[in-house]
């Protein structure tokens, strides 16, 4: 079984700070990490490899330093890693990104046919959840998004059965290989990297492909030119004109403050009290 897992290197958004005056992102010192959602897909791919044997190939589009993110995945047990990197990819939106990654997967498939492509559910920096469906559409792969559990994989029949999170319930879907899967978060727990694996990953020769090596001839499909969306403005949230009315705990008892607050809430929202009385409060 040959599995390709697509990942993205992202800034750790929990540590991003915005300059209070210029409203620009302060990137200095913000560590780059593997998009956390991608790791649930990586673990699922590694589990399939544990069961059925075969190979897990990592794929990433990004600047040369994204090599580190791929190395990290090698340390968890991935077998091979390809970084598609070229200045021509800069400024890609999700449509152009799915084109470049789909091209990379096709090149990888020339070496060995691909059975399953995994991507993360979404990234933590873009949060669009569009690249996985985009790759599937471009490669004509069956698409299973938000998978919470892979129920059964039948390599003889070349089918896979999975549970997919939907609104108000779970769909049980069976599809044919090859397919593209995006895993839901917290559906598995990523294994630890062993010390020998970490040493192996540190020296692993990540393959770097430029545009031509990724098999892309048409530059109008990638980067800024291949991106239909245009960012016209970036700005900070507008502050609310009125600040909170503060209730002083020092001036009166906690009980008085609570009763006072309750009256203020009901005055501000005249229908709320009736709504609360309708509910089965205890």
């Amino acid at each position: 079984m040959h599995i390709v897992v697509c990942i993205k290197q992202v800034p750790d958004s929990a540590q991003i700070r915005v300059h209070p005056v210029t409203n620009t992102i302060m990137r200095q010192g913000v560590p780059a990490i593997v998009n956390p959602y991608d790791l649930f897909s990586l673990e699922e791919a590694l589990r399939l490899k544990d069961r059925f044997g075969g190979k897990v190939t990592m794929l990433c589009m990004g600047p040369p330093q994204a090599e580190e993110a791929l190395r990290k995945c090698i340390s968890f047990g991935a077998d091979d890693a390809v970084l598609v990197t070229d200045r021509a990819f800069a400024g890609a939106d999700t449509l152009a990104t799915s084109y470049a990654l789909a091209a990379g997967i096709q090149q990888i498939a020339k070496e060995q046919a691909v059975d399953i492509v995994f991507t993360g559910k979404q990234t933590i920096d873009g949060d669009t959840a569009q690249v996985g469906p985009g790759i599937a559409k471009r490669l004509g792969l069956q698409l299973l998004t938000y998978v919470s559990r892979i129920v059964e994989t039948d390599l003889d029949a070349r089918t896979i059965t999975a549970e997919r999170r939907a609104e108000g319930g779970v769909q049980v879907l069976r599809t044919a290989l090859p397919c593209l899967i995006t895993m839901l978060e917290n559906t598995n727990e990523l294994r630890f990297a062993t010390l020998p694996a970490m040493i192996h990953s540190a020296g692993y020769p990540v393959r770097k492909w430029n545009r031509e090596q990724a098999g892309i001839e048409d530059v109008s499909k990638i980067g800024l030119k291949g991106s239909p969306t245009v960012v016209s403005k970036v700005f900070g949230p507008t502050p609310r004109s009125e600040k909170a009315e503060m209730l002083d705990l020092d001036a009166s008892s906690l009980r008085d403050v609570s009763v006072n607050l309750l009256q203020k809430i009901f005055t501000r929202h005249p229908t709320l009290e009736a709504d609360l009385l309708m509910k089965e409060g205890s």
Binding site: S13, I16, R17, V18, I25, L95, I124, D125, G126, D127, T128, A129, V131, P133, G134, K137, R138, Q142, L143, T161, A166, E167, G168, V170, Q171, V172, L173, R174, T175, E185, K225, P228, T229, V230, V231, V234, F235, P237, P239, R240, A244, E245, M246, L249, L254, R255, V257, S258, L261, L262, K264, I265, H269, L272, D275, L276, L277, K279, G281, S282
Partner: protein
Amino acid sequence: MNAPAKKPAGRAGRNLELPEHLKAYKGVWVFIEHDRGHVHTVSWELLGEARKLADTLGSRVGVAVLGGADEPLEKFAAEAFTYGADDAYIVHDPVLHGYRNEPFTKGLTDLVNRHQPEILLLGATSMGRDLAGSVATTLLTGLTADCTELNIDPASRALAATRPTFGGSLLCTIMTLAYRPQMATVRPRVMPMPPRDTTRTGNIVQATLGMIETDIVTKLLDFIPDASSNRINLPYADVIVSGGKGLKNPENFRLVFELANVLGGEVGATRPCVQAGWVEAERQVGQTGKTVRPKLYIAAGISGAIQHRVGMESADVIVAINTDPNAPIFEFAHYGIVGNALKVLPALTQAFAEHLSRRRKQAA
């Protein structure tokens, strides 16, 4: 396929001009998401936005309603008319019973190619996001996810779609200038419910899918509904009491549950609490969690990071309890108490319980 073949190169090779053949695209569409006989409320919320955009453009509002042979799609269309739709494009087909990517992508893509709307909106649900990504890639057009504001840019007449970026620390406005339709998704509860006019009616256009079951690779074997007892419906809760890391430990979340219980509300939480495993992921409020719009939102021990704020600032009344008088939450709460949430929460629980029980007795 109406994929734009020739695009004029704009500044820096960008495609900023709408090609002549795409100027025929008119109208604002909403994809109607439904499940087991009910339309998802996000579709009505989107119709309110679509009406506003169409009125600015002087165009019509259409809805795409796809479903099984026996599903009441005409009833959904009639409901859509009361929320502002003018035209409903309906596709009944047995293979459209229960959502699957392949037939829905074909159905929606075909409708768009035939009727050429300039804007197409979908709910940012697990169905809407799955479908939108596939349709946009098939049509080779721009798609902006999780928008919090939709407007028409006066200069270009294009859709100006605003969304949080960089984990919700900044907002950006995105436009698709040279491609049609312009696609966007919006999360449930981000937009208000539009007013309903039960006298409004509209036109129904029936279309066919042209697929048979054997064409479709993916089979829907089963649907397992969530047990209603453990369903957490945060986006549509009237009252939410949320806790943050200021509660110190997961056991103290009990105080949040007690107040929520008295108010008949739901319990929410910040991302750090969910990541620490204090409460279920379904309770996370914020950019990477749920967007909520309750009548009353009580934030206990929450500092008010932008990631949290974008998920709850549309609440009618926001009450904040925090020990730090400089916490950002006091910048956008309506009422603030500087104090220890572990002491204030029980006092509020008691005050509400007494008040509501007194009023119930008066009413009885």
